[in-house]
Symmetry: C2
Subunit: 134 residues, 2 copies
């Protein structure tokens, strides 16, 4: 009924109870959670879970391309299980982080002669919802 273990294996990551639960959480909750948020959400379902494991696992996911590191929040690292290239918008009022289907790689200046391996596109402002309910 759930193929998260297969997904992890596909990224070269050995599935474990903890790893599956964390990846499942990322995939079901597209809220770009912090490590702490993941930990708090899963500790009920896995009482022995430690924050260290959450940190290590999220790092492992990012290193293997199974998750994306979202550096839009200066205070905490955030994570995204949706790994297709896209941009992030963070509302300065409500803090919500929204995915934007946008990719900046195409807009590199011609004179740039390096190799781009990763692109991070962050935008900040006021989201449509906060504008409406201001």
């Amino acid at each position: 009924m759930d193929n998260t273990n297969i997904l992890l294996s596909g990224y070269g990551i050995r599935p474990s109870v903890q790893r599956i639960a964390i990846m499942r959480y990322l995939l079901k909750n597209r809220t770009h959670p912090t490590a702490d948020e993941v930990f708090e959400a899963l500790r009920e379902q896995i009482p022995t879970l430690s924050k260290t494991t959450v940190y290590n696992t999220l790092k492992l996911f990012v290193e293997n391309g199974a998750a994306i590191y979202v550096g839009i929040d200066e205070k905490n690292a955030r994570f995204d299980g949706y790994v297709e290239p896209h941009a992030h918008f963070r509302c300065k009022k409500c803090g919500t982080i929204i995915d934007l289907s946008m990719n900046g790689e195409n807009y590199l200046p011609k004179e740039f002669n390096g190799d781009v391996e990763e692109t991070f596109f962050y935008l900040k402002g006021i989201c449509g919802n906060c504008k409406k309910n201001h």
Copy 2:
């Protein structure tokens, strides 16, 4: 011979010995330094300078638009005295951060109905120099 004090005043920042020295450093050294790097560079010229002042001042600059916060380095906050909209590329090999004349605001999807106030465009990879001397 130097109008840094006028520049700061223009941003609504009262000039002081420390503030002028820090802004001058940012403008002369386009290396996107960390607060610590600024501190180390200036402590000789201002022996009483404290790291707290450097942190507070850089924060003040960013809040008033006199400098840009560069979040491309997950370990440290970096700062840029060049405030025109532009992107940053960080070489994974040598760590150098390069300015790129690029602005992502034009590439927003039409269905996005929020107000974008700030744009951060970060790229990582291998710079032309490291490619050449690999």
